[in-house]
């Protein structure tokens, strides 16, 4: 059984007098352990799809099964429970709670899961992203990359079925972005299912599979190959006139674990 199975998903919004067809009959299947990128230009419907995948919203029509459960007909409380147990979110702007420490931020999902042991799992999650030693620091005392790593630790702490990342490198410089992508690769090798939403092609090609969207429809659903990576790297290289986020030191096929030198353990 597929981890995610979406059939004929439709999401319509009313904006003033007009009807916006944000998703218009989308079918997607994601297997357990997949690393998928959803890409497309602004207004293509990728964010709407992410919100539906993340159980933050309900479709107008169609069905969404997550881990065999029919999500599309669930109520608010059930959706909250699914978000808590099965989904880990990583946002472009990190979305950490600034007044509390990294540790407290990571405990948030455990807290809503009504768990009584918060400290140890949170510390383990921070260790996974190489930030255990910064557990007591507030987000304002951390660099952008560190903040995103705290956000990843928070997403991982409840051992979710999927890690949903929305433009996770969008607010980071290219070097830090690479470090974050390396963490996603590592998590993927550890068996975590990763769904990455991005409009940057060089980031999207880091996945095993790319889903391209346009006007609320899936226009392409392909496995990523070396040619595609090279093409994305070359386009990016020409645009940037030098090294790109995607090509500099990322593996071409086999995902690499984070290294100590410049890896997630160090400060950006």
């Amino acid at each position: 059984m597929a981890l995610i199975e979406i059939r004929n998903l439709v999401k319509h919004y009313r904006m003033g007098d007009s009807l916006v067809r944000a998703l218009d009959g989308v079918n997607v299947t994601v297997e357990r352990g997949d690393f998928v990128s959803i890409t497309g230009p602004s207004g293509s419907g990728k964010s709407t799809l992410m919100h539906l995948l993340g159980c933050l919203d309900r479709p107008t029509r169609g069905t969404y099964h997550l881990d065999g459960q029919l999500i599309s007909s669930m109520g608010d409380a059930q959706l909250a429970a699914i978000r808590n147990r099965s989904i880990g979110f990583v946002f472009q702007t990190f979305n950490l709670i600034n007044r509390t420490s990294a540790m407290d931020n990571v405990t948030v999902p455990l807290f809503y899961a009504r768990k009584t042991r918060l400290h140890r799992p949170a510390l383990e999650a921070l260790e996974r992203v190489g930030l255990a030693q910064r557990a007591g620091h507030k987000p304002s005392e951390l660099s952008g990359g560190e903040r995103q790593r705290v956000a990843i630790a928070r997403a991982l702490v409840n051992e979710p079925a999927i890690l949903l990342a929305d433009e996770p490198t969008g607010n980071l410089d290219s070097r830090t972005g690479r470090q974050i992508l390396r963490i996603f690769h590592q998590l993927h090798t550890e068996g975590v299912t990763v769904v990455l939403v991005t409009h940057e092609m060089d980031v999207a090609v880091q996945a095993q599979r790319i889903i391209r969207m346009r006007d609320g429809k899936i226009v392409e659903d392909l496995p990523v190959d070396d040619t595609m990576r090279a093409r994305a790297a070359s386009a990016e290289w020409h645009e940037a006139g030098g090294e790109t986020a995607a090509t500099a030191d990322l593996p071409s096929q086999a995902p690499a674990a984070p290294t100590d030198a410049g890896g997630p353990g160090g400060r950006e």
Binding site: A80, F91, I97
Partner: protein, 408 residues
């Protein structure tokens, strides 16, 4: 329980993030609760003080006062209806009466050498001290044989003010009725013990002279201010009251059905009236306190609405992390309640402090903060917190997670 404690911690962190604003939000409730506690303390103290005075009156006393004078339905003063004969007649006629003591009252100035004191002048008979269990500290209270003598008895405080440490008994003083300007010289026969009140009078700062002398030489009127009747048997006071009424109606030639020109007050009736007065006083005080609490509640609601708007994105993040709507609602309700409880705690301290300050500065007011006031204050603080927090908390919990996450 663990979850609730964590919610309290999250709520506290939320409040600490804007400490000054949170403290300002507590002020309204602080003032409201402070007002309630102070009002209750003053009321409780004053009621206790007056109740004690009335209870000290003794259950075997009946006070006869002239009836009220009315103009256009409003009481404007008292009639001139009680005379010395009434007292004599009561003593003679009513068998359950031990004594019927007549009394007049005026505002006077007492002069002793170069010292002047304004005080209450009481014209009383020889039984006054006995029926009120009021003992002289020095000298002797005037006797029935001295009812026409120019002898005076001083209250303890007045004696101290006039004489200091010097002996007062045997000294001559000059008393002037400030209303009539009549003046008379008296020989001090006694200085009384410290008593506070005797009957309905504060006696420590009073001068007591024989009633006949006071009426004839200082007041110039044949009418009494009151007659204090002491019954023989405290268990037969209803009969005593009826008998007093019957005798006085006859004395005053009041026909059946006609309104009496006198009033009879017993301890029980006075306590009943007192309860009515304190109840009205209480309603006024509590209304003021209630208004402050409502204003305080609005203040908290306002701050909570700002907090919800400011933390819209955080609410979205919490929802994305698995917070249910009920969890968000609870977090903001707890936050509002903490603000309110903090205000309540400060209010209790403030009300308690203020009532003590009143007691210290006025010296006559006795205040008591009853446990009831603390319980009420805490209950009100929680109530205001929940009331003012419910709308903002509901608003927060109804946010759409997608919209909340997009909020800038």
């Amino acid at each position: 329980m663990f979850f609730f404690l964590r919610i309290c911690r999250v709520a506290t962190q939320g409040l600490m993030a804007n400490l000054l604003r949170s403290l300002l939000a507590t002020l309204g409730v602080c003032i409201g609760v402070g007002a309630v506690v102070a009002a209750m303390s003053v009321l409780e103290g004053a009621t206790g003080q007056i109740r004690e005075q009335f209870e000290n009156l003794g259950t075997n006393l009946v006070f006869v006062l002239p009836g009220t004078r009315r103009q256009g339905g409003r009481v404007v003063g008292r009639l001139e209806s009680l005379e010395l004969d009434d007292a004599t007649e009561l003593e003679r006629e009513v068998q359950f009466i031990d004594s019927a003591s007549p009394q007049v009252e005026a505002f006077a100035q007492v002069k002793m050498g170069s010292r002047n004191q304004k005080c209450t002048l009481l014209g009383v008979d020889h039984d006054f001290a006995r029926i009120h269990d009021y003992e002289p500290e020095r000298g002797r209270f005037f006797t029935s044989g001295q009812s026409n003598s120019k002898v005076a008895v001083l209250g303890s405080k007045l004696a101290e003010e006039l004489f200091g440490k010097r002996p007062a008994v045997g000294a001559r003083i000059q008393v002037t009725n400030l209303a009539t300007d009549r003046r008379l010289s008296f020989l001090v026969a006694a200085v009384m013990e410290k008593k506070g009140t005797a009957g309905m009078q504060h006696v420590d700062r009073a001068i007591m002279v024989p009633v006949r002398v006071a009426m004839r030489n200082l007041i110039g009127s044949k009418y009494l201010t009151s007659i204090t009747v002491r019954g023989v048997d405290a268990t037969r006071m209803d009969e005593t009251e009826d008998a007093v009424k019957r005798v006085l109606r006859r004395q005053h030639r009041i026909r059946p059905g006609q309104r009496e020109d006198f009033e009879i007050w017993t301890q029980e009736k006075m306590l009943g009236e007192l309860t009515k007065v304190t109840r009205i006083f209480g309603v006024v005080l509590y209304s003021i306190a209630g208004i402050s609490l409502v204003v305080g509640g609005i203040g908290i609601m306002n701050i909570m609405l700002v907090a919800v708007t400011e933390r819209t994105r955080e609410i979205g993040v919490r929802m994305a992390m698995g917070a249910r709507r009920w969890d968000i609602l609870r977090q903001f309700l707890v936050e509002a309640s903490i603000v309110s409880l903090l205000g309540g705690a400060m209010g209790i301290a403030m009300g308690y402090g203020f009532s003590h300050l009143l007691e210290k500065t006025t010296e006559v007011l006795d205040t008591q903060t009853p446990i009831r006031a603390i319980v009420w204050a805490v209950a009100m603080a929680v109530g205001v917190g929940l009331f003012s927090g419910i709308y903002p908390a509901h608003k927060a919990s109804r946010l759409d997670p997608v919209e909340a996450l997009r909020y800038e």
